[in-house]
Symmetry: C2
Subunit: 419 residues, 2 copies
């Protein structure tokens, strides 16, 4: 290889090619997020129905459970199929390593489903444990989404992914609210603990949707604002949170129906988000392909004709653009422009992405500190979050500072008890 | 694909494989940095000799120039050869795209060398322009190093790469100091402008070496502290910076010899840094391979014997680890431990890397703001840096804040004048 115009052009084209590849990979990841969203939705339903089943009398909701299981299986198959193709793309990056590690966690969690269902059917598992198994599976799926949102090639698409992730997380808290209140309605009472949990879940939903609104584009933000809260749903929510007793016997079923309506509306919103995301990706790919063709055409018009070849190489090697005159004197300068344009465009993208990544990192630190607490102090997700929050409040610090401090000392954390 | 233990294991192994690949890729990048360091060193020498040639009388330094050109060619060939193999590894990442774009800039800059040399030989190019061409080529090479230091898989190796980059940049300022003062000694006088330039270069060298000390490990920091400054060199530096006239006729040659000694000592230090870096990489690869084998052995000991296969799959699908007893009851729990270990280790690495990346990003923003100014206001690197610094001082802000502000408004910058 020698350092000349042809080699410069080769690397310019290689740079474009990597950019296109990374956009195509992004589209793939977008599709994956869509499939995860579908599976999460079905798992949320099965969780709700399982809770109803465990609280209700013998024989009730068993058929509904079978339907929900079938829906989960229907959503799981396409996701697993896409993950399968992902594995063939072993890459040389720390991100890929983390991604596969998350996939392993997801697959492991999903592999527990059959046993979980059997125990539920046989009523061998108390409701809170059954529910926390479902929560775990969904949490792993959402972590995978979070990993997929990391460091996308395009700031716009990254933002859309973050909006989508926040929305999915908000919807999951709504799903937990549905499941917990459904069980309590079915059991006929709301304990103090249940009411606290519900209030907490409502607060966290709101925070997620606020993050969604921060990152979503105008169109989706407005659409979401227009989704009206149902007044009947709000009335039942008040009953649940106030702990008032003596509600109508069919309140549980009505609650489940209304909460499901609300969550289905969220799923529709999520689908629109996913569609927009894909459309974004496809448009960017088309634009990048177009730009790549244009670049190639520019380069070809600069390159010498075959009969000029011999003079051309002399020109390039001995004159470069330092010398004016000669054959195709514009080649050197034009090539310089192309090289500079490419590098400036990529740098601008990178600067914007770095800012996004910083925002994302703060959220990620909180997630990690939470899962550290969950693993090492055997806390639930909710307890871990509350622990962090109260530490932050007591020390008058930001949540992310506490999370950072916790991660910094992670190595000295006691190991989880051995079985 | 179905969600069971075998699939979980497949993805755990894939995660390991990606990690190993990324470490091997890191080693490759380390080798590349070593080759760039070599080429930069030779270019710095040629620049110095070219300056002597342009200042001295007819016939002097022509042979030395030929020797320097030969050395550059000798260092350029292995670098280009490695870049050539790099191109075959087109990856699907925005990083790869940026990397190739930098390579294109480097190749373009190197392709101008033959023409530059011809003009120098024919004394058609004034010294400052000739020197700024060399500076440009080296700047592009250093940018490539900077890009290569980005987001390594390992915090330790990342830190070593940053230390190496800072050292290389400090050495480049030392090289510019050598070239400028050599020309001025040869010309017999130091103008006010030259003296300012020299003072500035000395200050910037010191800043780079301070950054080097921040990121280097103890051993290299101590080694570098022990590199004694030569008192004769310091005496000539004082003459140069004070603008005192009437120095001995051979001062130029002595300056060049002493400065070269100093820079060669730096190169030795750089070589040690590069060697340590590689040793680091190789040790990490060996450790990761070892861990990977261990993981595989752990997994194999957990996996069923062929005769157990049929019972095993029933066990996994219908019982999972929810059910105790049965065949190999420890499989589920142990697998959970493996999955959690992998994910926790990767997260800990990522947290550390995120903190490093933040530090690095600040430096990168400054570099980018500088090159924006260089491109759009046709400033030299030094002028661009000074512009940023004086803006920061006037507004009582940090350099990185000014750089960030400049990048944020980059789009409205006037385009460079068309030719």
């Amino acid at each position: 290889m020698i350092a000349n115009s042809s080699t410069t052009i080769r690397f310019l084209l290689a740079s474009r090619q990597c950019e296109l590849n990374s956009l195509r990979y992004l589209l793939q990841r977008g599709e994956l997020v869509g499939k995860i969203s579908q599976l999460v939705h079905m798992l949320q339903r099965e969780r709700g129905t399982s809770n109803m089943f465990l609280c209700a009398g013998e024989g009730q909701f068993a058929d509904e459970l079978s339907l929900r299981e079938r829906d989960v299986a229907g959503a799981q198959a396409p996701l697993l199929a896409q993950l399968d193709t992902l594995e063939s793309q072993i890459a040389a990056s720390p991100q890929a390593s983390r991604l596969f590690s998350h996939v392993a966690s997801v697959i492991y969690a999903l592999s527990l489903l059959p046993a979980l269902r059997q125990q539920i059917r046989q009523r061998k598992l108390p409701l809170p444990q059954a529910m926390s198994f479902f929560n775990d599976i969904i949490r792993h799926l959402l972590s995978l989404v979070f990993e997929l949102t990391d460091t996308a090639a395009e700031p716009d698409i990254s933002r859309a992914l973050i909006a989508m992730f926040s929305f999915m997380q908000g919807k999951e808290f709504a799903g937990q609210e549905r499941a917990i209140a459904a069980a309590a309605f079915a059991a006929g009472q709301f304990s103090e603990e249940t009411r606290q949990k519900l209030l907490d879940l409502i607060e966290r939903q709101e925070r997620c949707f606020a993050t969604f609104a921060d990152f979503a584009d105008e169109q989706h933000r407005l659409r979401w604002q227009q989704v009206q809260t149902d007044s009947q749903f709000e009335r039942l929510r008040r009953i649940a949170c106030s702990g008032r007793e003596g509600f109508a016997a069919d309140s549980g079923l009505r609650w489940f129906a209304l909460a499901t309506q609300r969550i289905d509306a969220m799923k529709q919103e999520e689908d629109t988000l996913a569609e927009t995301l894909m459309a974004h990706c496809r448009a960017r790919i088309a634009a990048a392909e177009q730009a790549s063709h244009q670049q190639q055409a520019d380069i070809e018009s600069l390159m010498p004709q075959p009969e000029e070849e011999s003079r051309y190489s002399v020109f390039i090697d001995n004159h470069g653009w330092l010398e004016s005159g000669g054959v195709r004197p514009q080649l050197g300068r034009s090539l310089l422009t192309l090289v500079q344009q490419q590098s400036r465009r990529l740098q601008a993208l990178d600067t914007e992405l770095a800012a996004l990544r910083e925002t994302l990192n703060e959220r990620k630190q909180i997630e990690r500190a939470k899962s550290l607490l969950m693993q090492h102090r055997q806390l639930s997700e909710e307890e871990a979050y509350k622990t962090l929050r109260s530490m932050a409040m007591n020390q008058n610090k930001k949540l992310v500072e506490i999370a950072g401090a916790m991660l910094a000392v992670a190595d000295v954390f006691p190991l989880p008890p051995k079985e």
